[in-house]
């Protein structure tokens, strides 16, 4: 089986090369087939690997020495174990569906850009696969920055629009801030342990001092903050919605943004050693979950709602990691990949039908025009709200139960966030699909269900959103939690939370009940009378995202630019260049002045000569010996 491993990233790479180089000569349909087909091939290999891991355990395949210096050896190696094989399935599986969806969604593009789109998308999958398959932190970092690059390229896919370019740049730069943290953590590991291999690091983790562990894990977490859009580095993700919608589904919902969770789950051995970091992770996750949920309450752009919802759900995953429920977090990554990809693709279907209108206030009553989209979107909404037996319920419940075991306050806030989630999702649902159509007559005339290339992925994802949770049914509900058993070989430091059965039933009941109430309230409120006016008062603050973007702009962007301008115009021009030119000017000036001494008058020259002799004699006089001799004379 080992000889198959390299095929997984190879297929998308080949797809990237063919589509990238042949984007002008290949036909659109061929590009679509190559783009999706390579991912499908990867998916099939991933399936084989997955079952292989399940039966035979993990494998590490070492290909060549990436960097080999005496004191540092980093090999280009892949590690296929439970965690990475699960992620492989998510990436290639969901990725394949999104590729198929894209073939129809991007149909209006010129062939050349169509090819470029698929090339980028394949490159993204390739990088993402490197990220999860790498057997050391350096390979992970390669994928880590690679996905950042693809995200940049795809957000700015329509590069004629400058706003999109700014969004792309913002995403890349914010990710880079996180990457610096990641990189420093890797250096720290290499400095202390001399290796970046997972196996070696985890084996020798106990030799690290508590300070080292805390620092390393916090720095890694900075990387995760950037990639997984956590406070304070989250503002790029909502802006990233400038990219094509399938991109948002794949990169900014299902896969790339969960890289931070993957990384922390991968490093669970290190994280569990530092209580400080665990608390930081949990709190940041919780705060992000709540904070972005409040913003999502008042957004009117269909994709923005989903974007903030993604940030919020990622917050839940970090809460899960922070309380030691690694399996729960990974589980939520999986179910979230299903239902959030579904929701994004559903939104894409709506946008497609509405001719690139994204404002939900101009929609309404789409239920009868887009029956499949409507139904699948509803399933997605239910799943994310955590209503049993949909997938979101199981994963979210696991995180919340673990949070309760750690600290009931975490649980309380988590449930509040879950209620908000249910509320804004059904606000979105009701405003979009229920009520009456509020767009132009022309738009209504053209409303149509999307082609089957788009609806089939929706249906598959809807199915997965329904049944995806069954791999992790907790024991109190009569399940075996197969996922837990499968992942236990990697997530060795999982914290087992022990609550009585009754407590767990009560907790579940409360969270489901609250979510249900929020759903009913939202449907009642918004199906008849959607919010069409701009929000007032506090709602306006939410609508403007707590003005965080403006805050960052004032405090970081503007000051940096001001500093840069100051250095360029003042320091560089006047101080440093001024000093250099000043030396030149001084020489010039003094020579011009000294020139005047050369008057041409012989008398002057002699006068200077005499004065100079007098000076020399006076200097001699200072010489003690001579002074005495002369004083003896007189």
């Amino acid at each position: 089986m080992n000889q198959l491993v390299y095929l997984v990233p190879l297929f998308p790479l080949i797809g990237f090369l063919i589509n990238g180089l042949g984007r002008k000569s290949l036909s659109k349909s061929l590009i679509g087939v190559i783009g999706s087909g390579t991912i499908l091939a990867s998916f099939i290999v991933s399936l084989v690997l997955f079952f292989n891991v399940k039966n035979n355990g993990a494998v590490v395949v070492d290909y060549f020495n990436f960097i080999n210096i005496d004191s540092l050896k980093i090999s280009f190696a892949f590690q296929i174990d439970a965690l990475s094989s699960l992620f492989l399935l998510i990436i290639t599986g969901v990725g394949f569906l999104i590729h198929v969806y894209s073939t129809a969604y991007m149909q209006d593009e010129e062939p050349q850009h169509y090819g470029r789109y698929f090339a980028y998308l394949n490159l993204f999958v390739f990088s993402m696969l490197l990220l999860v398959m790498g057997a050391n932190y350096v390979i992970m970092f390669i994928g880590w920055e690679g996905v950042g690059l693809c995200s940049y390229l795809l957000i700015g896919f329509w590069f004629k629009n400058d706003n999109y370019n700014y969004a792309a740049k913002k995403a890349f730069v914010m990710n880079r801030i996180g990457d610096l943290g990641f990189l420093l953590a890797v250096f720290w590991l290499i400095a202390k342990l001399g290796t970046a291999n997972y196996a070696d690091v985890f084996a020798h983790a106990s030799s690290l001092t508590p300070f080292d562990v805390t620092a390393i894990t916090l720095l890694l977490f900075v990387g995760a903050m950037g990639k997984s859009a956590q406070i304070p580095l989250y503002t790029w993700l909502p802006d990233a919605m400038a990219g094509p919608t399938p991109v948002s589904a794949l990169i900014h919902a299902a896969t790339m943004v969960t890289a931070g969770i993957y990384m922390i789950a991968r490093s669970n051995v290190l994280y569990s050693m530092s209580a400080v970091t665990m608390n930081v992770v949990a709190i940041i996750g919780l705060v992000t979950a709540l904070f972005s949920a409040t913003i999502a309450l008042k957004q009117n752009d269909i994709k923005k709602v989903l974007a903030y919802s993604t940030v919020s759900q990622l917050g839940y995953m970090f809460l899960g990691l922070g309380v030691g429920a690694y399996t729960g977090a990974v589980f939520h990554v999986m179910t979230h990949a299903f239902f959030k990809a579904l929701l994004f693709l559903g939104a894409g279907s709506v946008i497609h039908a509405m001719h690139h209108e994204q404002d939900i206030r101009k929609m309404g009553g789409l239920k009868k025009h887009l029956p499949i989209t409507h139904l699948t979107f509803l399933i997605g909404c239910i799943a994310i709200s955590g209503i049993p037996p949909f997938s979101g319920f199981f994963s979210k419940d696991e995180i919340l139960a673990a949070a309760f075991a750690k600290n009931p306050v975490y649980w309380g806030l988590g449930v509040a966030g879950a209620a908000m989630t249910a509320f804004y999702m059904f606000r979105l649902y009701a405003t979009t699909f229920l009520g009456t159509f509020r767009g132009t007559h022309d738009q209504e005339h053209h409303l149509h269900e999307s082609p089957s290339a788009m609806t089939i992925p929706l249906m598959v994802l809807a199915l997965l959103s329904v049944v995806g949770g069954f791999v992790g049914v907790p024991e109190i509900l009569g399940g075996h939690h197969e996922l837990h058993g499968f992942l236990s070989s990697v997530l060795t430091t999982e914290v087992a939370h022990e609550s009585s059965k009754n407590t767990e039933y009560v907790l579940m009941g409360i969270s489901v009940a609250i979510a249900a109430i929020a759903i009913i309230f939202a449907i009642n409120k918004f199906s008849k009378k959607p919010e069409l006016q701009d929000a007032q008062g506090f709602g306006k603050v939410l609508e403007n995202k707590w003005y965080v973007d403006e805050l960052y702009d004032t405090f970081f962007v503007k000051t940096t630019l001001a500093k840069a301008k100051f250095l360029k115009d003042i320091i560089e021009k006047n101080v440093i260049d001024g000093a250099v030119n000043g030396v030149g000017k001084l020489v010039n000036y003094s020579s011009r002045q000294l020139r005047l001494i050369q008057s041409g008058q012989v008398g002057n020259y002699i006068l200077f000569m005499v004065l100079a002799i007098v000076v020399v004699i006076l200097l001699w006089v200072n010489d003690n010996h001579l002074y005495q001799y002369i004083s003896k004379l007189f």
């Binding site: 012989v602 008398g603 007189f634």
Partner: protein
């Protein structure tokens, strides 16, 4: 006579020469002042030579100490004579050219 008197006299003569060179514009007078300085030096040389000789004489009656300085005096006088002839020739040429012996006319070095 103590050597100090000679030194003071020479110093005075030399200073007069310097002041003359610096202040006078007539080339001939400048020239005479230079001669004055030269002779001040000559006087000093002769005086020191005599002093050296007197000091050495008490130990050794056959000494010739200080005679080199007197030799120098002769050198200087010869050179001065040569210099006078050349210098006066220059001054004559200068007068032919600019109809003046004012040294301040000789400022073409400036450009």
């Amino acid at each position: 006579m103590p050597i100090q008197y000679y030194i003071l006299l020479a110093l005075t003569l030399f200073s007069i020469g310097i002041v003359g060179v610096l202040t006078r514009r007539n080339a001939i007078i400048v020239f005479m002042c230079i001669e004055l300085m030269l002779n001040a030096v000559n006087l000093l040389l002769v005086a020191f030579s005599k002093m050296q000789y007197n000091l050495a004489f008490t130990n050794n009656k056959a000494t010739v100490a200080g005679s080199e300085a007197q030799l120098f005096v002769f050198f200087i006088m010869v050179v001065a004579a040569a210099e006078v002839s050349v210098g006066l020739a220059i001054i004559v040429m200068m007068y032919r050219n600019v109809h003046s012996v004012d040294v301040n006319f000789l400022n073409r070095l400036k450009n």
